[in-house]
Assembly symmetry: C2
Homo-oligomer: 477 residues x 2
Amino acid sequence: MQAKGMSLDIMYAMDLDQAKQEQDRLSRGRSWIETFRENVNARVSEFVSNVIKLGRDDPRRVLHSLKVGLALTMVSLLYFCQPLYNSFGVSAMWAVITVLFVFEFSVGATLGKGVMRALATLLAAALAVGAHHLANLSGRIGEPILLGIFVFLQAVVFTFARFYPTIKARYDNGLVVFILTFSLISVSGYRDDEILKLAYHRLSTILIGGSACIIISILVFPVWAGEELHNSIASNMDKLASFLQGFGHVYFEMDQDGVSKQDKSFLQGYKTVLNSKNNEDNLANFARWEPGHGRFQFRHPWKQYLKIGARTRRCAYLIESLNGHVKPQAKPEIPGKIRETCMEMSLECGRALKELALAIKTMVKPFAARVHIENSKSAAENLNSLLQSSGLWDDNMDLLQLVPMATVVSLLIDVINCTEEIAESVHELASMVNFEAVEPTVSPEKPETGQSKPVKPSDDVHTHSVIIVIGEASLEN
Amino acid sequence: MQAKGMSLDIMYAMDLDQAKQEQDRLSRGRSWIETFRENVNARVSEFVSNVIKLGRDDPRRVLHSLKVGLALTMVSLLYFCQPLYNSFGVSAMWAVITVLFVFEFSVGATLGKGVMRALATLLAAALAVGAHHLANLSGRIGEPILLGIFVFLQAVVFTFARFYPTIKARYDNGLVVFILTFSLISVSGYRDDEILKLAYHRLSTILIGGSACIIISILVFPVWAGEELHNSIASNMDKLASFLQGFGHVYFEMDQDGVSKQDKSFLQGYKTVLNSKNNEDNLANFARWEPGHGRFQFRHPWKQYLKIGARTRRCAYLIESLNGHVKPQAKPEIPGKIRETCMEMSLECGRALKELALAIKTMVKPFAARVHIENSKSAAENLNSLLQSSGLWDDNMDLLQLVPMATVVSLLIDVINCTEEIAESVHELASMVNFEAVEPTVSPEKPETGQSKPVKPSDDVHTHSVIIVIGEASLEN
């Protein structure tokens, strides 16, 4: 109706507009499909490259997958071979289930789970047979009721036991298997009169599946949980060392030594140490199951590793606080001597941690670490006297200017104390398992910046902490 | 022979000695048994009291155990009832197995595991039936070989997939069930011609077991993972708040306010926050499965909780560094005004965290927190000017004396900044889920020590961090 009053020109223009919009819509549609396709392609290629990286980062993952496949195919033989199938029948599936729930990445975890599963099954099967006989005595109506009560009671008791912290940490898997086996055998026994045969089949197939897992995991490229723990403790220490060795340069912006502005990734490496507790606890739990292998005896002091790990983490918390101060901000003019001494503290402490990490890794007594710690402590004492000599400071400089730097200094001193504690526990470990005593080939006694006299290694690592020395020094004034 | 030359006296004395030794040994033996008995008694009573404490601390644990027992007894009916047993036969045991592996403490975990198990079983059963038909085509000799290859390949691929971090976090359980079902059905199919019936039985019994778990866990005293996460985030913040509120008194040894020397347990409470990451990640993963319940919608922003949790942990690391300074040591004489200002910073920051924790717990907008943060920041600025006015300090006081205190001040400032970040993310959460807006009944604007003027809450929480303010202030001088 309205179009009637419109001129042809306008109508022509409207047509053109519509055509244009149509074309736009079409091209938008095409581009939407293209964008979608590109997105999918990008996602897929990212996923594939991630998967390849996953395998390349740790080829043992690929090996583990192959091992699981091998074990699973092996126990499938129970079905495929007629003589084997004749003796086990459908119970063969327990072997398959066992492989899937027992085969873990490390030998310790597999052994622990396998042994636990076998023991729990044995115990539960025995009790279930007993319960079945007891229930049998109570007649046709009483039997299912009594069986139901037994199942209910053991489920309640053992499910509650799983909340008990020490039980949870060590026997959680065993308790689940116990409840499962007891329920299955006692209840199946109600239908199947050959309950002893049932229990025997379940036990023997579980033994077959479990031993397949254990044998393959030990013989084919074994992954030892103990070695994992050992290496992860050493590498965590190494990450802290990298931070401390680089911190001085970055904080005081002295990048002449090849540390470019972009290359600050080593300042982030320590972050994984903050949340390492769970992993270490698990590995230590698994490691206790492992037989002697390579450099590790059967009763290797894995608990000591947890102690070292806890102290390393404490050091990481301090470094997290320290890292908060590495940011672009207005820094006060710090006299050159103080700056150098601070850098030396951080550097020597980093070197000490690096030495300790290397000592653990190679299982050699950490001789040089002591020297580095002494050096960093003497640097701290140097700083002490530098701060006391007021000649270094301008007259128009106020106390406020000191606050950010004092914090860094104080945190560094805390880090040194923490490093000393780590060294102490590494020394304990070294004497527990008789680390090799190899004299260092390169003398570490010359500090790079060389302005505090290096200290000969003393026998007593347990010297008083530096923070107290500072407190005393200030009180003497 | 030697006895011949001995006098009777000596021999008599020897007899006496022997008798005495004998008596000693006997009494030692008795006391050894008694000690052993006492030890066992002590251990047993300790264990029992621990168990009672376990139940009393969280009665939901007892309820959970009862619920598992109930579910297990319910699925046992599949065996006990003749009509049910007729339709399922021995497959009924899958229901028992499902209950044990699916029933978890929280609704979210149970739902997630149950749904995942059902889907994985469905998918694996379909593929296994397909694989079985494919293998059937290749003749009597080819069939087991082809089936073996299928089992091997899928085990390798899906075991490797379990290493992929995002898959591991969400679908780990599903993958295990997939491998298990595929292996069982394709391999059993070789012996059992009614493979479709086998797959159907397995699927339907798993559905029965799974739905028993899900229904019981939702209807009978449900434990929601989302609520757990919600409460644990709030209680972690509360622990940090308790530390900060008590820190000032303990550090400056001003115990007049009823904080006795023994009652320092609140200074240790924050330690559990340090290692809370794993637990929070798990709870958030479970919570995503939960339907709307109580105050939580279905798509509650659980990720935001993880963000708040990460920032709370960062604050806890700072507090760990701060806690290193709470120890008996020679402290320098600190001017009273500085001490009071420091205490106010810590106290107000603690109050802010307490307000934030309360706000999350009660889902009410945190009005007062802003005021407390502003107060603590103005206290920090006060400290700023106090430090600059040199009149406060003795002339014979050197810079060294400032180092330990400067560290505490600087860490406190970092904690305030961190608290501000936490407040920011809590505000984000509050606007995401529309926290209730309730004006505080008690005006929190009057700080206790009352020497810095309180600041009105401003709309902009994102003010610059205090450490920069200090830097600028010092550069202006």
